[in-house]
Symmetry: C2
Subunit: 339 residues, 2 copies
Amino acid sequence: MRNKQPTIWDIAIKLNVSISTVSRALRNAPDINPETKKAVLELAQELDYQPNTIATSLRKNKTNIIGVMVPEFVHAYFPNVILGIQEVANAEDYKVMIMQSAESLEIEKHNLQAMMSSRVEGLILAITRETNDYGHIISAQRKGLPIVFFNRIVDELPGSKVMVNDYQGAFMAVEHLIQTGCRRIAHLAGPQNLTIGRNRLNGYLDALKTYQLPIEESLIMPCNFEEGKTRLYTQALLNQTNRPDALFAVNDPTAIEALICIQENGMNIPEHISLVGFSNAPHSAFITPPMTSVVQPLHEIGRHAAELLIRQLNEGTHFIPETHTLDAKLVIRKSTRQA
Amino acid sequence: MRNKQPTIWDIAIKLNVSISTVSRALRNAPDINPETKKAVLELAQELDYQPNTIATSLRKNKTNIIGVMVPEFVHAYFPNVILGIQEVANAEDYKVMIMQSAESLEIEKHNLQAMMSSRVEGLILAITRETNDYGHIISAQRKGLPIVFFNRIVDELPGSKVMVNDYQGAFMAVEHLIQTGCRRIAHLAGPQNLTIGRNRLNGYLDALKTYQLPIEESLIMPCNFEEGKTRLYTQALLNQTNRPDALFAVNDPTAIEALICIQENGMNIPEHISLVGFSNAPHSAFITPPMTSVVQPLHEIGRHAAELLIRQLNEGTHFIPETHTLDAKLVIRKSTRQA
DNA sequence: AACGTTATCGGAAACGTTGCCGAAAATTCT
DNA sequence: AGAATTTTCGGCAACGTTTCCGATAACGTT
C-alpha cells in the first residue's frame, strides 16, 4: 500500500543532473552551483522529499539514535526523566528510542539486543529491580556501547551515572522540621542494605547532630518499604508516652501510610505532628493535607544523562565516565508547620 | 569509539562460505545444508552477532516500525495506551517508535517529518490540542502512510479511529450527579474543535435535558485543557451568587485543578460541592477525597489501535478504515455524594 | 598559444543485507 | 553407464545515500 517516497534519483532525473549533484545540493556541500542548488531544493520541496534516514544511517554508519530503557512508564517518574532526555537529545539532533522492560530481566535482555540490532549509538538505562546478573550489560559495553545509568545504580558497572543526593535531601527535610519547632523527630527508615536507605538515614542523623538534638534509637523505625509494617511502627510511635512531634519518612508511600494512621488516631497534621515524605512521584501534592516532601529534579536527571551520553559519543574513547549527583529540593506544603 | 559489530561477512570469511549462505542460515531458508547452518548459527552465537536492521530495512524496504505520537506522556493516560500498543506490536514483531508533540503543532509537524524520514510503516496518532490545520497529516496519508487516530479524533480525516464513548461516559457522570441530588451542575469543558470536547459537552447537555434540568450558559466553562485557566473559571463559578452544587470536568487534570481551587476556598467535597472527573489517569483514586471519575479502558484503546494499524499494513489497499468505539465506565468514589 | 586554476559536475564504490539466478555437486532414476 | 533431478551453494544486483576521485569546461596567466 505504501507509495514509494521520492528519492534523490527522482530529483536527479527530472533535473537532468546526477545523484551526486542532488546529494550535494541537499546537504550544504561547497562545490555546487548556487543555481542548480536552488533548483534542486525547490523540486525537493515540491515533491515533499524526505531523505531516507535508513540509507543515510547505513552509508554513514551512524544512526543518530540514542536508546532509553526504563522499567515502566506509567508512573510519573520515568516519563518526566525522559522528557529531560528528549530535550537535550533533540537539540543535539539525536532521536530517542524508548523501550520499557516491565521490571523483567528477560525483557530487558531482549530489548537490549533489539537496541544493539538497531544500532543505537548509546543507551540511557534504569535496570529492573530483578536485574542481579549484569552479563548482557557488560557484553554490550564491551562491544563499545556507551551506557549512562540512572535511578537504579550498580556501583560495580562502569559508565556514567546520574543520581540524586539522598543524604542532602534527608538533611534538608529534617532541618526544616527542626526550624519549624519540632524537637522529637522520628524516622520511618528504609532498608539498610540499599544505599538509598542508608543515605537518607545518615542525612537524618547528621541533621540532628548539627542542631544538637539527641539521637534516640526508639525513634528510628525500620519500615523497610514494607506495606503494613509502617502502620504498626507509626502506631508504636504514637503510643510512646513522650510521643514525637514530627515524622520523616524514607519515601512517599511510607509517608502516606503513616498519614492514614495518624489521622485514624484523631490527630491533626501538622498541628499535632508534622510529616515529611521523600518523593518518587509528584502527586503527593494532591492528598490532604498536601504533603511537604523532598522532590527529585526529574527533568534535570534526564538532561544530565543525555548530556553525559552525548559528550561520550563526541569525545569517544578518551571520555572518562562521570557520576553526577543532583541535589534534591524540599517542597514545603501543608503537612509541616509554618516557619 | 563504537567498535564495529560483526557482519555476515565476518562469519562468511571464517567459515569459508559465501555471505549468501550465511544469510540463508540466519533466516530460515530452505536450501541449506543442516550442517553448515549449524556451523553458522554457532559462530554467530559465539561472536554475539546482531543482524544490522538498518541494512535489512533498506534492502527489504520494510522497517517493521510503527510510529506513535502523543501530545505528552507525563500523565498516566498515554503511557497506558502505549502499553497496550506495545503488547500487540511486539507480538506481531513490530517495534514502536514513540514521540511526543508537547501539545505543539510545530513539533507535531516536525516529528511527523522525522517519522516519514525514518520510514515508519504506519502511525498511531493523538493530535495536539492546537492542531487545527491538517495539511501535514493529509500529505502523509496521501503518500501512503496508514494512520490510526485515537483520543483526539477529527471526523474529516480519513483513517481508522479508536475512541471511547465520550457522550455515554459524560451522560453517566452527570446522571449520577443528578441522582445523588445535585441540581446546579457546572461543566468544565474542553476545546470544542475536538470531538472529545464536543461529545462530553453533549453528554452533559443531554443528561440535563433528560432529567429536565435547565441549561445555563454561565455554568459551562471553556477550560480547554489549559493549565491555569481552570483555576480561574472554577473560582468564577464559586463566586457566583447561586453557586453550583456539582462540577463535571472534561478530564482529570482539569478536575484536580478544580479540586485544589475548591479546597483553597475552604469548601468540602462532596458536602458543599460534588466533583466528577473524566479519567485520563487512574491515580485519581489516590487523591483526597478519592475522585469519582469516568474511566477509560486505556489498555484496550492501545490494543485496538495497534490491531487496526497492523491489519491495515497486512491487508494493504483493500483495507477499509474502521472506527471502534469503546464504552467508558463510571467509577464512584468519594468526591460525589452517596445515592 | 599553451598552460595552470578554479568551479562544477558525473562515475562509481561502499555501507550490510536479501533474493534471484545459475552453477556445481550429489543424488536418484532410466 | 549416462541422463535427469535434487541439494547446496556462490555471484551479483539492488535498496538510497554519501563521498572520493577524476573529468570537463571556462577562465585567467604567462
